[in-house]
């Protein structure tokens, strides 16, 4: 078997990007990444999402691991491992911080115990679940070896013994005035339950509770420490062993186990991020990634928007697109607020996520392995000096044209929209021609309908409106020649109050509520 390096890289790892790729904000991938790492800030996962391997081997390696982790049992096993490791770190930090030696030792004991359980549990689950990916199989082999070492087994045994010993200690504390006495527990009866029984007759259902606020800091005060000292004198052998464990085992943590703990969160973060959307019925698929420019996607959608809508209880609209033969550039026109920008983002996001090795938003996808993604999105800023703005637009476009290769992905969104129509048409045409010459792949969102039929490389797509009520945006982008539009409002239909719509609505609701 090949040596196990890392769950992210089949061979020696690539260097990680230090910062966010420049096109992230345009594609709202910055939002996606924020959502992905939310709750895992301590692990510093962002660089993993900023670094696309751009290698078919790595993409395949990761897709395999993803597929394995799609199995709930495996994902659950890894998640338990990660939780165990996180809890372990918390306990170690506390052991550092605490003052009384018995307490330090006790937190250390618990940290080691959590580690042993986490690693043992992961190894057992992996052996049982039989993962198919090279990544998880490699890890499994490594763990079997590690768990067999003498160091690990003797540590495990001592931890268990101490835990049982400490868990069975029972004592009593008698307080009278300022005098405190600690003794072993002698079978005295519980007084509170007797009192509670007397007053049970007054119960009226739930009432407010009056939980006293007791400090539950890990630290002890000196009275508690004196009581603990008393307990330690009642059980001297047990406490001596505890102190010995703490003194002799500071280097118990295995480095490969620690690396796996961080890297595997790349997968879990992504799967958890998309889990809610999947449950709501949105599909994700493993794309076929290659060097063929005939890309095709069924039911693709913008991941950032999908998350936002889902949080508001709505489902994002899915769209299809494809490029055939000579076709390279999707030119999108149509109604405002009709989903054109979202469409451009979808195109870019799917390609980026595919290159990371992730499952992508959509039912089915064949995507292109790009060398760089170049974007220029109109940001809708207050147009100050129109000439200055046009100049900036042109400078940025020139940069894109300089960098673009025949393997690049170009996404242009409403550039030149604040320019005079004639200028905009001219410039737009020139730029699309330049991109066509590069044979680059891309999307161009524009209000200039004439760009849609520029040459054999452009394909026209249109944001569609509902045929019954043109006021309703469908957010569907369809392959169709451009249409000029805007119809009147059909108000009653909009409110779902025509006879036909009402019948539908009332039928639907009687299915759930019924006649009381």
């Amino acid at each position: 078997m090949r040596a196990f390096y890392s769950i992210l890289w089949p061979g020696e790892p690539f260097p990680l990007a230090s910062g966010m790729p420049p096109f992230f904000p345009d594609l709202n991938l910055d939002q996606v990444v924020e959502g992905l790492v939310a709750g895992r800030e301590a692990e510093d996962l962002k660089p993993f999402f900023y670094t696309a391997p751009l290698s078919l081997e790595a993409i395949g390696y990761r897709q395999e691991v993803f597929r394995d982790l799609e199995h709930p049992a495996l994902a659950e096993a890894v998640r338990r491992f990660i939780q165990g490791m996180a809890a372990m770190r918390d306990h170690l930090a506390l052991a550092q911080k605490l003052y009384y030696p018995y307490q330090k030792a006790s937190y250390f004991l618990e940290a080691v115990e959590l580690y042993v359980q986490a690693v043992r549990g992961l190894a057992r689950e992996l052996a049982q679940q039989q993962p198919l990916s090279a990544g998880l199989r490699g890890l499994c082999g490594y763990l079997v070896e590690y768990l067999g070492t003498e160091d690990f087994t003797s540590l495990e045994k001592e931890v268990r013994g101490l835990r049982e010993g400490l868990g069975s200690v029972r004592y009593s504390v008698h307080i009278r005035g300022d005098r405190v006495t600690v003794r072993p527990y002698a079978g005295e009866a519980d007084y509170s339950t007797e009192i509670e029984a007397t007053f049970a007759r007054f119960r009226q259902g739930a009432v407010r509770d009056y939980p006293a606020k007791f400090s539950d800091w890990p630290e002890m005060n000196h009275v508690e420490a004196q009581i603990l000292e008393g307990v330690a004198r009642l059980y001297p052998g047990l406490f001596a062993r505890l102190v010995a464990l703490y003194t002799h085992n500071s280097d118990y943590l295995d480095p490969k186990v620690a690396t796996f703990d961080r890297e595997v969160q790349f997968y879990l973060a992504y799967l958890e991020y998309i889990a809610g959307l999947r449950k709501a019925g949105l599909p994700f698929c493993y794309p076929q990634v290659g060097k063929d420019k005939a890309v095709a996607v069924r039911g693709g959608f913008d991941l950032a928007l999908a998350q936002k809508l889902w949080a508001e209880g709505e489902l994002v609209v899915q769209n299809d697109f494809y490029l055939n033969g000579q076709e390279r550039i999707l030119v999108v026109t149509g109604a405002n607020q009709g989903g054109k920008t979202t469409f451009a983002r979808t195109f870019g996001q799917l390609h980026y996520l595919a290159a990371l090795g992730c499952p992508v938003p959509g039912e089915k996808a064949r995507l292109f392995l790009w060398d760089r993604i170049l974007t220029h999105f109109e940001r809708g800023e207050a147009a100050g000096d129109p000439r200055g703005k046009l100049e900036d637009d042109l400078v940025r476009t020139r940069e894109i044209l300089t960098q673009a290769t025949s393997h690049s992905l170009i996404l242009l969104n409403e550039i030149f929209s604040s320019t005079a129509l004639e200028d905009a048409a001219y410039l737009g045409r020139r730029i699309l021609e330049a991109l066509s010459a590069r044979d680059a792949l891309g999307v161009c969102v524009t209000f200039l309908e004439e760009l849609a039929a520029l040459n054999e490389k452009t394909v026209s797509m249109v944001s569609a409106v509902s045929p019954e009520d043109p006021a309703v945006r469908t957010f569907k982008i369809v392959r169709r020649p451009p249409v000029g539009l805007a119809y009147a409002l059909a108000v009653a239909e909009k409110y779902g109050l025509t006879y036909a719509r009402l019948r539908e609505r009332l039928q639907a609701s009687s299915g759930t509520e019924g006649k009381p």
């Binding site: 009593s172 405190v180 007759r201 009432v207 009056y210 007791f214 008393g230 109050l497 609701s509 009381p516």
Partner: protein, 501 residues
Amino acid sequence: MRVFLLHEDRDFDPSPGWPEGEAALERDLELPVIWNAMAGGDPFVYEMARKVMFSSLSSDPQTIHYRQAVLKDALENPEELRRLYALTLEAMELEKKARSWFYGRSPGAILSRSLEVLQLYMGLLRKLRERAKAAAGRFRSPGFCRLFGTLQEELDEAYLRIVEEDLKGLRFPQGVLLGARLGKGLKGAGYTLLRPNPDRRSWLERILGKKPPSYSFQIPPRDEGGARALSELQDRGIDPVARALAQATDHILGFFTLLRSELAFYLGCLNLHEQLSRLGEPTCFPQVSPQVELSFRQLYSLSLALRTEQRVVGNDLEASEKTLFILTGANQGGKTTFLRSVGQAQLMMQAGMFVGAEAFRANLCCGVFTHFKREEDPTMKSGKFDEELGRMSRIVDRLTPCAMVLFNESFSATNEREGSEIAQQIVRALLEYGVKVFFVTHMYTLASGLYQQSFQGALFLRAQRLSGGQRTYKILPGQPQPSSFGADLYRAVFKEPLPGT
């Protein structure tokens, strides 16, 4: 100990309603006028009247009969009812001493305060028991009989004695004994209050015998931190007892609160009844009809009578198996008032109250909705017609088949042709769904359109107008007529003939 005066088998618990719909009902049916009469100046009674009316829209006939019986008892024993209510107010006074005080205090403090407050509650409970004993023979409803029975059984003298003994025993003269184990980080955990074992050794054994191992220490007199830590430790042990006692006071208070709430509703009915009797207006206990029905004699609008402080015109109706009521006719002819009287009576019947009529029989509805034309809407974002449709759509979201919807001049914010068409489509869909529909309209296109469909379950009513143009405020059966009598009104207001007539 249960109150159960509003439901046979459970406490009254207002269901979360639909605020927009309730606000519309309140405004369209002039319910605050009724609630004010019920309240007699007590805002708590007002609130209860409101809650009970709004959460009774899914009532069953048994609950209505149950409440009617309790209410009859209340109307026959007004003085006793008011005395019981006054007793619950005494308990509320104690509440101020207890409830707000407990929160956030230490268990030791809570324990000693609970002991004190419980002592006072015991006195109040004894009084309540005595009152129940005295009143027992004069109340006949199952609701009151059950309540008075429980009070006498559960608060028997023997039990109250045991409670008082326990209250004395919780002062810990021998110090506090706590049991514990080692918790997280070896801090003591699972503190429980223990009852010390009796020491059965003789004095000689005590001196010479082997002592169990132990370790003692003393907090130095100046160690304030240590003293605080020790008392917190002790608090951990007595916490469950303190909580149990604090909760016991809350339970008792909870009982008094429920008793007050449920009595408040009947007290409100009593107040309303007295006011209506003073005006000479009739009231009756309505009959729940198992079939679709709406029949009444001399039904009047309570809000109109209470507002004008005089007897008002009542109407009669016999309608079985009718689900569509179209009201047309003279402006200012009493159509809206009639609509209100129907809505008010329906709500009051379902709440278990009497209604403002000589006789009233109707089936139950599981939801009453009003869709009245709004004169102006300060929060209006869209056009008036948009607003009407939006409001209607939200009602549709909440409709169930046995609901009742009262329309008043709805969908008239657009021209008559469009408004009538949309209204007709809506009415048709609602009827097919099983909703009972009342529609006051001056849109002749709508009314005559529905009339021509000669739908079996439809009843057409008209506001009466005498030949001289004078209004009687009587609503009588009659088919729609092309004019809405606006001319009459014009004449009455401007005291001059219309140009051209």
